[in-house]
Structures are given as structure tokens and as C-alpha cells.
Symmetry: C2
Subunit: 259 residues, 2 copies
Amino acid sequence: MRAVRALGRRQGRDRAGRFLAEGPQAVREVIRHAADRVVDVYATGEAGHRYAEELAEARDRGLRVVPVTPDVLAAMVQTDTPQGLLAVCRLPAAGADALGDLLAGGPSLLVLLTNVRDPGNAGTVIRAADAFGADAVLVSEESVDVHAPKVVRSTAGSLFHLPVLTGLPIAATLERLRAHGIRTLAADGSGQTELASLDLRTPHAWVLGNEAWGLPDQVRAQCDEVVRVPIHDRVESLNVAMCATVCLYASAGSLGAAR
Amino acid sequence: MRAVRALGRRQGRDRAGRFLAEGPQAVREVIRHAADRVVDVYATGEAGHRYAEELAEARDRGLRVVPVTPDVLAAMVQTDTPQGLLAVCRLPAAGADALGDLLAGGPSLLVLLTNVRDPGNAGTVIRAADAFGADAVLVSEESVDVHAPKVVRSTAGSLFHLPVLTGLPIAATLERLRAHGIRTLAADGSGQTELASLDLRTPHAWVLGNEAWGLPDQVRAQCDEVVRVPIHDRVESLNVAMCATVCLYASAGSLGAAR
């Protein structure tokens, strides 16, 4: 139990190569969309009744469902109530060239998160990428750990719907994207190009910065375009999740016909 | 001090007719955009130095800045750290027909929040309404109290940029909007009309529902259109803040030329 609880902290996750999906939504989505990443599912008696369908699906997919008491389950998590359901999952394998594999598949819509630190924002960006049909989310090494319980929860299951590649160096990643003909679009309030004026019908990646200070100069300089979502001048900025949502919606509308 | 602390709770706010703006961003925005709503500003010595400009602006506008110790300030708030700055503000006057006054001004873009319960979502919707130039946000009597500290904080100052009318009965409000020629658009995943196919160049109001269960049947039935933001079928829904952000962005783009 203590080994599971340690997965609430980054060090514990990195050491064990595992992370937690807490609560019915995350557990249902990982069972349905990424069962090969699940080590074990834990359920209290009450959750066993309430989520009988989800747990039957888990067993159908060859997963082990371990019955636990509410006290034991509570001791396994660090925050909030997982409503009686928990899955221990494998982190994506390190070392392999996941970005190379992804690029070989010819993606048309990507998101690169650089320096996003707020778990709720990171989760919402992943959810928006999923909703608007992105092929993957790329996360820089400086960003929040997307396998932290708070991020996993705020993706509302989206973490298990599309590849989320982590630990990427920003400059080298931008270079590889451009080498593969993927236009890099920095979303930043300082941009000269308005979102609505962009042609988004060819493969592109949205590059998103930190909540408070946006994108560093060198990242903006490395991108093909710096793009602004026009907002009323009484407003300082959109938050990064709102910005990503609008940009990705625009991409989905333009790529829709092209894909 | 205890009287101020009581403003952290809805009962305390309703009884006193006041609420709190906590932290530099909220305090700066209320001083700049709604100084007539400020009763008093409280600042610690450190904040007095750090935010000298903001506090000078407060004094220029005839506001009283009360020096307090960090301990006293901490005792005045219920949550988090306000970074040494706090403003006690007046709630909008009850009883007056604020909606009537608003409608008389011929608004072209409104948001009606029905049953939104999560403070962060409500705050983000108000921020999006502000960013995309809405004339006002209307909040139903069933929704979260927008003057709760968590909502105030998550609006990032937007609460003080545009009128936010509260305590409205949903059905009667929809009727009044329609009587004033404002098209009522329910944003709901069940909608038959896709956002991109709508003509948004005439006055309209976005009607937004609860995070978990959307809009009730009778509200959808009362609206002119039920509008869907198209999303990938692997995704259950957008959250209400993401949905509002996309809809309002679309409105701003269409109304831009018309206004």
C-alpha cells in the first residue's frame, strides 16, 4: 500500500515507473483506451457494485481487480476521494525515440507544452488536444509532471486517449518538428499574426508557454509564426488553457476538410 | 477584522452587502475599473512598498488605504495568501432592475450561466466573456456565488471589467432576452446545430449549463438554438469553461465587423 501511495510524488513515480489513475472516470478511460498500461485495478466493495460494468470490462481485458477496504484505498492515495476506484499504471517507456515514431506517422496536429506549471492548466490543454483531434501532446522537460494525480484527474481521461510524450528538450524538439515539415506556431499575446488570418490546413504544432510569463524570446524566435488570439484591451491575457482551446478549435475546423 | 473575515462566506456577504477582492491583481483591477465599489483597501507594509503604484492610484481615486500587519491581514481572509493586499467591496445593489437597464442599452453579446457550480469554471467563463467583449454576464439564482473569494480570484480581475448580474430566474430571463430580440443559444453537446454553421452577427446570448449534467430539457427547449462545438467522439464533453471560451471566440470574430 505504501508503495502505491508513493506514486503520488514524482520521485516515487520515476523510481517505480508507475503512476495512478484515481476515480471512476480515469479508471474507466484507462481500461477502455489503454488497458496495456494498467498493472492492477483496486476497488472497494461499494465501488465494485457501482462500477460493475467498468470492472467487468477490466476483467474482460485480462486485468486483475483487487478488492480493498475503503480505509486501505484511502491510504493508497494522497489527495481527495477516488470514489472507491484506483488503477496503478505504467509510465511510458523511457529511452525509446517516441517522438521519432510519432513523426514517422505523419501527424497533422500537435501541441507542445513548454514550461506549463499549473496542473489544472496542463490537464485542460491535454483535454482540449484530445477533443479537437490532435495526434499527440508533447511536454517539455521543464513542465509539470503530467502523471501527477492532479493533472491526470483534470485531463478527464484524455491522458489515455492520445500519446502524451514527456521530458522533451524544447529547442531540439522544435527543430525536429520543422525538419518534418510541421509548422511551429507559438501562441502568445505578443504575436503579430491573428489566429483567424492563419491558414491551418497543413500540418502544424501549437507551442504554448508558461501561465505567468508566456514564451521565452528564444522559443518565439525559433517558431515559424507567433500567433495572437485577439482579446479586448481591458484584459491582460487569456490563460494558457483558454488559449489552447481556441487555437485547437480553429485547427480542427481547418484540418477537418483536409483529413 | 472578524466582520471582514465573515465576507468569505455567502451568508456574511449577503448580510453585509460586501465582498472581498484578495491579492494584487483583483485589488488593482477593482481600483482601476470599479473604484466606486470599493469600501476600503487594506495593505501590509511590505505590500505598501511593492504595490506603491496601485495604492497611489487608490488614493488618487479617493479611496482609503488602511495599513495592517501581516497577522491581521491573514486573520481577515479565509483562504490562501492575498500577498498583503485586500479590498472590501460593495455587492451590486439588489432590487433595481439591472437587467432592464442592461437591455435598454442594446447589448450584442451576453452570457447566461445556469447552474454552474464550480468556482474555477464560473471565474473562467467570466474571464472569457470579458476577453471576447461580451456586454455582460448574467448568472442564475442556482449558480455558484460569483462574489465568493475563489470565483473572484479565478476571474483574474474580469469581474470588475463588465457587469455581472446575479440571482436571475432562468426562464423569465430567457423570455426577456428574446423579447428584446436577443437570440438565445444553448451551448450543449446534444445540439443539432454546429457552432461554425451559425450566423453570429446579430445580438445573441450564450446559455451555459452545469459542468456534469449540462442544460435541463426545459431550458434547451426555451432557447432559439441548441449549439454543439464539434469534438472527437472519443471525448465525452468539453468542460463548461472550454465550451464558453470557444463559443465566445466565435462570437467576437463574427460581431467584430458588425460593431
